[in-house]
């Protein structure tokens, strides 16, 4: 598997580290215990299109948000995660 880093170009999988699901959003400060529990622990085990965070630690050290199909390993999009390489986000 290779990932096309938006900053570095195409690189081998070994340069990247998988973090996990990019969908969960941190609940507001006053959220219920159930909501926080869901956010911290509960993950969908998706067969198909997923949105994931990956870290290009062996390269430019940017966090990336990647759309990947878990059935085919096909990657349909790679973009900088929020706050990374601010000059390029939204460019």
């Amino acid at each position: 598997m290779r990932i096309v880093c938006p900053f570095c170009g195409e690189r081998e999988l070994g340069e990247f580290t998988y973090l996990g699901d990019a969908k969960p959003v941190r609940p507001a400060a006053g959220a219920s215990e159930d909501e926080v529990f869901d956010y911290v622990y509960l993950r969908d085990n998706v067969a198909g299109e997923t949105s994931e965070h990956w870290y290009h630690g062996g390269g430019c050290r940017a966090w990336l948000k990647i759309a990947r199909n878990t059935l085919t390993h096909e990657i349909s999009s790679v973009e900088p995660a929020a706050g990374v390489g601010a000059a390029k986000v939204g460019a």
């Binding site: 900053f7 070994g14 390029k88």
Partner: protein
């Protein structure tokens, strides 16, 4: 009270033995040159301040700061892309040390002095690219990795900044590697292992290639 004399030493002080290594009955296919005593400053734009940093860099260095993986040569420094909104300033002879650069970029960036935190190894010779192909999956062919091309990548699981400097007078390409000081010896031995079959010529230098 005891008096200490602190003398900076290269991270490769022990590992590097100048001379020949590996295959002896051939013209050395790889030459390795460690460059010692350089100044290296990491400059990272504060969030959303890249444009300010780029403009301050243009004023200070007279060349545009790299915003894509490239190494840009100014008259007295190399600006090496190291990631989004950040680059390294490599120079010699105290021209661009931490204090003045901190002043120059105080509004737009955070800086970190890496002068004694990295080792700089120049790889050249007729077999340099063949040897590096064993260690890196980056395509170093001149059509895609010309002079000034740069990459933040890993060799043998060790992070390196790799860029192509100016060719040697004999026309051979020079690939520069910046590696963390504490990983330098490990990477050095990996490179020697990869290069041994081609014959290696080892040296160290005080001047940037």
């Amino acid at each position: 009270m005891a008096e200490f004399s602190w003398v900076s030493r290269s991270p490769l002080q022990h590992a590097l033995v100048a001379g020949a290594y590996g295959a002896r009955d051939v013209e050395p296919g790889v030459s390795l040159t460690e460059v010692r005593n350089f100044e290296l400053i990491q400059i990272m734009a504060r969030r959303g301040r890249w444009a300010d940093l780029a403009s301050a860099a243009k004023t200070r260095f007279g060349v545009a700061a790299p915003d894509v993986p490239k190494a840009i040569q100014s008259p007295d420094a190399a600006l090496i892309w190291s990631g989004p909104d950040q680059f390294l300033v490599l120079s010699k002879g105290g021209k661009h040390t931490f204090a003045p650069l901190s002043q120059a970029f105080s509004q737009s960036a955070s800086l970190s002095d890496q002068s004694h935190a990295r080792a700089l190894i120049g790889v050249s010779g007729a077999k340099a690219r063949t040897m590096l192909a064993k260690l890196s999956s980056i395509d170093l062919h001149p059509t895609v990795f010309p002079i000034g091309a740069a990459a933040a990548t890993s060799i043998d699981h060790t992070s390196v900044n790799l860029w192509r400097g100016n060719d040697r007078p004999d026309g051979q390409a020079v690939f520069n590697l910046l590696v963390f000081a504490t990983f330098a010896e490990s990477l050095w031995h990996t490179i020697l292992d990869a290069a041994a079959e081609y014959g290696v010529s080892i040296a160290y230098a005080e001047e940037l290639a």
